[in-house]
Symmetry: C2
Amino acid sequence: MTMAIAIVKGYAVPMAPRGASRAAAIGAAADLMQRQGYAATGLEAILAASGSPKGSFYFHFPEGKEQLAAEALRAGGVGVRTFIDDVVAAATSPGDAVRRIAASEARQLARSGFERGCPIATVTLEMASRSEPIQRAADEAFESWAAPLATMLSAGGVADAEAAALARWAIAALEGALVLARAARDESLVTSLAEITADALDAHLS
Amino acid sequence: MTMAIAIVKGYAVPMAPRGASRAAAIGAAADLMQRQGYAATGLEAILAASGSPKGSFYFHFPEGKEQLAAEALRAGGVGVRTFIDDVVAAATSPGDAVRRIAASEARQLARSGFERGCPIATVTLEMASRSEPIQRAADEAFESWAAPLATMLSAGGVADAEAAALARWAIAALEGALVLARAARDESLVTSLAEITADALDAHLS
């Protein structure tokens, strides 16, 4: 077997297994950035956690850490969207879906010593105003999370535009509850605040 | 005039004007950390922005950047509380207060190129799980912001425990709206999502 080699930013880069090392870097970045944010997550730490050599990193992410962070937000966004799809499929109402999402978030917060809140909010607050790739990835993620709730609200008789606004609002309310819960070191805030959101959401159903 | 000198961590520290240099460091830290977060804000940048010498810094903040960040959150918290007190005094209902807060936040976001959202949320998400002084300062700030809204809800006939929960929920909803608005680079999200929160809040009045 011969191995393809690319020269990227002065490094000889083995080009196989490409997918695995790219995915490992994204996974490591997503994990570290969820727990400690963008600025605190150095490239060295990402490479150490992913086991990827530096040359391979720049081959996959020629724009560097900013590009990787956008991919990490995208990966986090897809993960949460999959979870919300499952929740919505099982939920009896949009409010019930919000309660189930909150219960899962509260468990994750408590289990992680309050390190793991939203996978993308910290990086969004740090970087959205100064990085368009990160800003766009964050926006797409939040929109993708709202979509299944909007569909559920529409199915409950809410007009499409109002359903979209209410769904976005519910996601925002969950995000805000995570911020206050981390400040309070009290995961029960996530579920108790979500109760209020859930009741307000279901009040819009016809 | 003689000037008092202290020796702190090896630096000769002029002890006057104490209050001014302490306040300048807190102000610089609050400003930088609101815009870029905790990890991205180095001590050198804070000292440069505040015009304080390093020795004076360690005299005022022997625990270093973490202690300064907690003080910066406290200062940001007091500033927002003063603003909320003024809003509540002028508002016709708790929902009206939420709308006014959101309108002000939206203007600040837009004027700052989306750099200035909540003065404490970014640092909270980065650091609350790993710094007790920062976590406590953040929690106290959020609680102090909710208090005037809770008082207003109680005056509107809501039982005290429910009023406290609803007020905290409204603050969380505003926080979440700021996260999504920064992701979307769209300050109108803050006000449109606050409309939903405001209506839901006033629905609890008797």
